[in-house]
């Protein structure tokens, strides 16, 4: 059953990806050639050693112990002759051993260099591709998965290219080299040991085939165990609060038992297979001992040749062992390689046209003309026939439930996706006709879920314009109400932001993100005006910063706040991908029932009265316009 599943999996593995990965070796031709040449030389040197061992022993036996075989009638040797012969052969052994060592080193070192080069290229290509793939790709792929492609899968592929491939070649060289030498030395004895080879090969293969799935299963059991551990650590309060320790302990105990049993299954297989393989090898030696011995007694073999045989026998088994392992390594590498190329071959649906031109500095007129958008492979449109026009400097508020298409609209403007039908234009340029970087550099974006990058605060503010002067950065930070808190850090603008902004609070991150967008001084602004759990003062400051940011720019706002809606030049109410109402607040209050409903139930009311700049906080939850798909449908 185990074998069957492995085979089934193996069948699906295509080796095309692996072949392509191997072709990357050509970029490191010189190094690879050195590696392969070294492999060849070192293997030949290795094959020479037993020959010389034979020579030394023959030298000894001629003098000290044994009748020389009739076949090679000896000239009358003196002892001095034999001693010279002996020493010369021994020096030869050392010489060839040194040569073998040296070239074995250059072989594996250069193989590593070449394969690391391949891994380097694959990694970089993956990274570049991933950075450029459009949002629709990233919507469907998780960060963790993509990371595994660029690390684990690259490493598995590299291992095969750097070692597996070499080992296959080496195995065959050794195997055939040895068999040829043995055959030339003594045919009958070769025939005696020949049958052990296929047995050993089958065993090694079986070992590879059996071991892999067993290890996989141990991994599964281990991860079950770790999940329980992880859950109990993270949920310790719940466990203790509900007094579930005994049950969790029983659960853990079961999982630990399972793991133990699975480990013992492996142990059983290993404790049988490993010694068995060595037994076969030793039986080969015993056969040589006996049948070789008979031949020696019959004068058909010298003791030197006989020693050579047993040395070579070791050489034959070693490559067989390697082949067994390489097979499982190869199928893993093939699977990894095809996953890598799956990404490298992914079609990027948003790229510059060949004749794309740079977008000249814009006014900020944004027009949607009958825009329909559906995700790749989906027939259900997310936006259908949306048309509107935003004049330079206008603020457009987008309202609607989750999934109504608000986010899609704002993602189409900087061309994170392409419209399926219709077109989006900026100052009458179809966004698909201009260069992506010229388009995006004129659009500022503040997303709700702020991502900052490791580096200093300054680096983060200057994210979109790394060449900005310090004065410009400070000015942007001031306008974003971030300057004060940055000044409070001991290192000021050089404060390191931990991974994903760990050292900053939510509100601080948001203001850095606003400063980041401000620094671009974009004509068009896209933002999510929601702020997640920050305290009152911060909330107020963020609102203030956003107001600064929007002044004089064409702004698209996914609206959360009444003030935003009240001040908007146009409100677009979306439902299921269509604009169901549009206009200003007063008009909509009268005309659109849906708007009135959303207004009352969802918007965070910062009073809606005269004082519409009163700070608001998100401490009050029933607020977000971001998620409630059902809130609209419900009624």
């Amino acid at each position: 059953m185990t074998m069957k599943t492995t085979r089934a999996r193996g069948d699906r593995v295509s080796f095309a990806g692996l072949q392509r990965a191997i072709r990357y070796l050509f970029r490191y031709r010189r190094v690879a050639v050195i590696a392969y040449a070294s492999l060849f030389i070192s293997t030949l040197a290795q094959l020479m050693v037993p020959q010389l061992v034979q020579a030394t022993i023959d030298a000894i036996t001629r003098g000290g112990a044994l009748a020389v075989p009739a076949t090679t009638a000896p000239p009358p040797f003196t002892r001095a002759d034999l001693e010279t012969w002996l020493i010369a052969s021994a020096v030869g052994i050392v010489g060839f051993a040194a040569m073998r060592g040296l070239f074995a080193f250059t072989q594996s070192y250069n193989a590593e260099r070449a394969s690391q080069g391949v891994a380097f290229d694959l990694r970089n290509e993956l990274f570049a591709k991933i950075q450029r793939l459009s949002f629709s790709y990233h919507d469907q792929n998780q960060t963790g998965q993509l990371m595994i492609r660029a690390t684990d899968d690259v490493e598995k592929t590299r291992l095969f290219i750097g070692q597996g491939l070499m080992m296959v070649l080496q195995a065959f060289l050794l195997l055939f080299g040895t068999l040829i030498v043995l055959w030339l030395t003594n045919v009958p004895l070769t025939l005696v040991i020949l049958p052990t080879l296929p047995i050993a090969l089958v065993l090694f293969m079986a070992f590879g085939a059996v071991a892999q799935p067993l290890f996989t299963r141990v991994q599964q059991k281990l991860s079950t165990l770790n999940t329980i551990l992880q859950e109990n650590l993270a949920g310790i309060k719940v466990v203790q609060a509900f007094v579930r320790e005994p049950n969790e302990q029983a659960r853990f105990n079961r999982a630990a038992d399972d793991l133990m049993r699975q480990q013992l299954v492996i142990a059983r297989v290993f404790s049988f297979l490993f010694p068995f393989i060595f037994l076969i090898m030793n039986l080969g030696q015993a056969a040589v001992l006996y049948f070789g011995g008979r031949q020696i007694l019959g004068g058909a073999l010298t003791i030197g040749e006989w020693q050579k045989f047993s040395l070579y026998l070791l050489y034959v088994f070693f490559p067989l062992g390697m082949l067994g392992m390489i097979i499982s390594q190869m199928s893993q590498a093939a699977a990894s390689a095809s996953r890598i190329f799956e990404i490298l071959d992914a079609k990027n649906d948003v790229t510059d046209k060949p004749n794309a031109r740079a977008l000249a500095p814009i006014q900020g007129r944004v027009k949607f003309e009958n825009v329909t958008f559906r995700y790749f492979g989906s027939s259900e449109p997310v936006l259908s026939r949306v048309s509107f026009e935003a004049n330079p400097g206008q603020t457009i508020a987008l309202l609607g439930a989750t999934g109504s298409g608000k986010t899609t609209i704002i993602n189409l403007i900087p061309r994170f996706y392409d419209a399926s039908e219709g077109r989006v234009t900026i100052d009458d340029n179809d966004v698909r006709d201009v260069k992506l970087d010229s388009l995006r550099s004129q659009i500022g974006i503040v997303l709700q879920d702020t991502t900052l990058f490791s580096g200093t605060i300054r680096d983060n503010i200057a994210f979109g314009r790394p060449d900005a002067t310090m004065d410009a950065v400070i000015a942007a930070a001031r306008a974003a109400e971030a300057h004060d808190f940055i000044g409070d850090f001991p290192d000021g603008y050089d404060t390191l932001v931990g991974e994903r902004g760990a050292t900053l609070s939510g509100g601080q991150k948001q203001r850095v993100a606003i400063a980041r967008a401000l620094l671009l001084d974009p004509r068009i602004l896209i933002l999510d005006d929601s702020t997640s759990s920050v305290d009152l003062a911060t909330e107020y400051r963020i609102q203030h910063a956003l107001d600064q940011l929007m002044r004089g720019r064409t702004s698209f706002v996914i609206a959360q706040r009444i003030s935003t809606v009240l001040n908007a030049d146009q409100i677009l109410v979306l439902d299921k991908g269509e604009i169901v109402a549009r206009g200003k607040h007063e008009e909509l209050m009268e005309e659109s029932e849906m708007y009135a409903e959303i207004y009352h139930s969802q918007l965070i009311g910062d009073a809606g009265t005269t004082d519409d700049r009163r700070p608001a906080t998100d401490d009050i939850p029933p607020s977000s316009v971001l998620r409630p798909r059902s809130s609209v449908e419900a009624r």
Partner: protein, 646 residues
Amino acid sequence: MFHGPGGPRHLLAQETSKAGNVGATLARLGSYFKPYWFMLVLVTGLMIVNTWTQVITPDLTGQVVDCFLAPAPEPQFQELSKATLEMRATNCWYTPIHPNRTMDETLAGLGGLVATLVGIYLLGAILGGLMFYVMTWTGQRVLKRLRVDVFRHLHRLSVGFYAENETGNVMSRITNDTDTLQQAINFALIQVVSGALLLVWITWNMLTKSVAYALVSMAVVPLMILATTWFSDQARRAFRRTRKEIGNVNANLQESIAGVREVQAFNRENANIAEFERSSAAYRDANIRAVAFTSALAPTLEALGYLAIALVVVVGGIALLRGENLFGTTMSLGLIVTFLGYVQRFNQPIQQISVLWTNIQSAIAGAERIFDLLDTQPDVTDKSNARALPPIVGAVEFDRVDAEYKKGERVLCGVSLRAEPGQTVAIVGPTGAGKTTIINLIPRFYDVVGGAVKIDGVDVREVTRASLRAQIGIVLQDTFLFSDTVMNNIRYGRLDATDAEVIAAAKLVRADSFIERLSKQYETVLGERGTGLSQGQRQLISIARAALANPRILILDEATSSVDTRTERLIQQALEELLRGRTSFVIAHRLSTIRNADQVIVIQDGEVVERGKHDELLARGGVYHALYTSQFRREEQPATTPQGVI
């Protein structure tokens, strides 16, 4: 004994650490092995016999040569080999030879000797396999006990421990340390011990046969040890560098992929790619450097091995050719063959011992850390004479309670309050004021440092925690769900509840409507930590869980994160249902909850600054009024907000 692809590299690339108190750790680890002492004796016995099979074979192979294959030397050397002949005669202890042996007798003798060898090989294989299995059998049992011990201990540790130690760290410490320990117990230990035994035994055998010849044969051993230690050391150092570099690569990947939307929005692709290529190249170079050492190790050892062979053959051979004694040892061809066999068995154990030794050291260090964890004293424990708390009515009293997390840093100071059975107490105040501390004291997640928390007049420290907590229901802000079915997640509240009771609880708190819409309803398996559900849905499940437990006292930390309107309304209704008739402590964020509360406690800087009902407090115009006007008032503006008005 074949190394996997890459040889010792895999082992050298692992992180290593050194233990502080090796003796104590080993003794304690030993106590885990104690129940299996018999198995260890068995393993030792098997190991000795198995090693014997490896030591005896070169000797027998030598006898094959001396006793059967090497007849009279060539005429011109006849006079020299007299001593050799005698030596051969004494050497052949297995099958004594006599001068007038027939060919048939020789063949039979040869056959017998080889058959014995085969028998020994067979014995070695069986014993070797058995040894490995018995060791794994024992080791896995020890590991399991250790794992379970650690797990139980984690349960005993109080919430305070988890506040100080990040779960991720604890988790990776436990998994990594048990992992190294497992490797050592399963593999390294037996290899190192039997390798050492083999080395000693072979050395002993060689020395008893011929001191001089043994010394010649072992001349390269110091070089082997030196080379192995030096290369492994360098390689380890170099691999430490690669771990740092792969860390950079991963950080870079993680950030750039997770933040890919920002990267594209700000046109940062090229800059990021250039940066990645730098860290990618550093990783590549670090690897190549490390591999330079591992690639040198095996060939060096192999070359030294051949050097040993050459020495054995030359020194032995010349002595044999000259018919001279080698410092008192008469040479024979069989002896040369025997020594060749020994020398070939040297290489592997030396390499293994040096590579695996650090592995064992790390394992000891890992065991030490595990024992440290096991030695961490839980700060909340049942008193020795603690009794079970009888079914309670639900009166909760804080009597001048002081609390601190770190010594000397008061988080609560002289807090007194009293909740009558069935009352709802809303706790409000700014972040860090001590609201969470108050609710943590009731189920005794922490202990007070002054004053007392009493339930029905009984100090919570006087009763067993299990009996106390069983009567308290808790709904936390950060809802924790297990990767299990919805049914079982709710049932977590009361394990003996029937399916019908679970469903009833879900219905009661109105969670059934969304559960019914899940792909497999109540049997839907939730991802880790409840992924697949929205925040609000997760809250509903945890509320259902508390409802099923049907506790007299309820502790509720209202979530601040935003959920959609419809779910929000469901949650409010659910909570109202849940609070009814129970003594409840609520860290309140909803105005409706506060208004419904029998008491509102306003906490600031660890002290109760105001208390009373919503209206009274509002009228007072103090801290609560300020809080209210800044936070809650706007909730009233859109008058249609559900639950907004009583």
